[in-house]
Symmetry: C2
């Protein structure tokens, strides 16, 4: 009975944590993005449209839950969470453009280039990209320059050509490249895993845990990153478009290899669950303090959006 009870108690904590982080991240973006009284107003309104009032906020919650588990107070962690989310949102805006995935629906509303126009969407993405690094080097986030520099180093590496953008490029080549499981895993580690891992890492950096003390957390992040993408592939194959708030069945239409095409639905689901068990195992030393990170790992594979 002990384990079931633990899962239920973790689940309640997660549900409350997800609601709270959604409110808090919106509140911080509201402060970070005041609309100026000049012709830049549509740019900042576009940034607010995409950054606020939407999304599961998984990355900010990874930052905040890791930081709080390690004794960091909530406000600086929320600002770092906004920096990671700004990078995530900019990548969604650019990925949705007609020349990329050409999507019309995101987080249950019109994509930015549909609600505004393409040029504003390109610029709003670029501005959110810069905003992330402005936040991380603001003394209000942390006055410690060593921490500021390490946060920037981690986020820039996770989002650039050796991380998210590189994975996106591999993904664009996927239609013609006929990837095997090894290459798909590598692609997803870059495209999705790098930023999820950076979120956990940045929570630990805020807590001034030295690099060598972060290996269990990195292992947790690596496992949930892969599980997250397998769950995304399962959602794409089997999910409900209305709940997901975006177009699905795209992998199949584009003839792309995914974890689901390579492993089958059951194989992929089993693999995701095994990865989550692994991930939770890496949190052993943190005991009850790791409740939210544990529940978040389980949520990542069970979610319907």
């Amino acid at each position: 009975m002990g384990k079931m009870e633990l899962v239920d108690s973790d689940g309640a904590k997660l549900s409350s944590a997800l609601n709270r982080i959604a409110r808090d991240i919106d509140a911080v973006f509201d402060v970070l993005l005041p609309v100026p009284d000049d012709t830049r107003a549509p740019l900042v309104e576009a940034m607010r449209y995409s950054a606020m009032d939407g999304g599961k906020r998984v990355r900010p919650l990874l930052v905040v839950a890791t930081a709080e588990m390690l004794g960091v107070s909530r406000d600086p962690a929320l600002r770092v969470g906004c920096a990671v989310e700004a990078i995530h949102v900019y990548s969604l805006i650019h990925d949705d453009l007609p020349c990329m995935d050409d999507d019309e629906l995101r987080r249950g509303k019109a994509t930015l280039h549909k609600a505004y126009d393409e040029a504003t969407a390109v610029l709003a993405g670029d501005s959110l990209h810069a905003l992330a690094f402005e936040i991380l080097t603001d003394d209000e986030t942390t006055p410690d320059p060593f921490t500021q520099a390490e946060l920037v180093r981690t986020l820039a590496a996770a989002s650039g050509m050796a991380g998210m953008a590189g994975g996106q490029m591999m993904d664009m080549a996927a239609e013609s490249a006929d990837y095997d499981l090894h290459t798909i895993t590598r692609l997803q580690q870059l495209k999705t895993g790098a930023l999820l891992a950076a979120s956990v890492e940045m929570g630990a950096i805020l807590a001034k845990i030295p690099r060598e003390g972060r290996s269990h957390l990195r292992a947790y992040a690596r496992d949930i990153g892969l599980a997250f993408q397998i769950a995304d592939d399962l959602l794409d194959a089997e999910g409900d478009e209305e709940k997901a708030g975006k177009a699905l069945r795209k992998d199949d239409e584009q003839g792309k290899q995914t974890f689901v095409t390579l492993m089958g639905v059951e194989g992929a689901r089993n693999q995701a669950r095994a990865l989550v068990d692994h991930a939770v195992g890496h949190l052993g030393q943190y005991g009850e303090d790791a409740a939210v990170l544990r529940a978040l790992a389980r949520y990542i594979v069970e979610r319907d959006r």
Copy 2:
């Protein structure tokens, strides 16, 4: 005779400095952008296509000339120069996209989305954006975290919604907004001036000059930033497309107000020259050490590309 000789001697120093910086920046980008042995290769090749072998390298020269004037060795300054240039190049790539200025020629060759495709151009721009912050927080640039953080803070502010991207948004609204001289000046201070000013500022940050000791350099940068844009407007109105390596006469076609439409050709030219005299005046305390910065200010208004 003294003054003419000074200008000539400065001019020779500038010519040699421009040739040398062009070679050096290419060499650093060559090291920073090794082509990976996987399907990310086209992304990095696209980044190299746009970042290497082209451009006047005015921003890197501002970084390096300021840093060298203040006693910083060349290698770290070159890396910071590459970071600023990476931001400049990403902005050119995105500005050239069909949904923005829809340009086919840049630095005398096909724009990136013409040479590759739009999706690769969006991603290559984003990757150069991230690369800038990777460079600035690399211990090889400077091992001092305080300097790293201040460099990031300066570059992120100059490129985001309160800098370059904000100016670009104001520029997009210019066709319908019918700006006056005050607003055009503000627009250009953001769109072009902020990054030029940041270049000088970052050279001084590398030299660990505290903020209050950088006011003369900031004044120099502000003046040449505005002079640079007036010269660009003059080039657009009067220049030779072949020498410029890009399409001209665009402001007029789009019915935009510019310094030239608002002040006339002669008025704009006089204003640019007055700004350069002002800029050079701010360098007084640096004497002969400021030769390159002085000559660069004059070059900015006399250039034909």
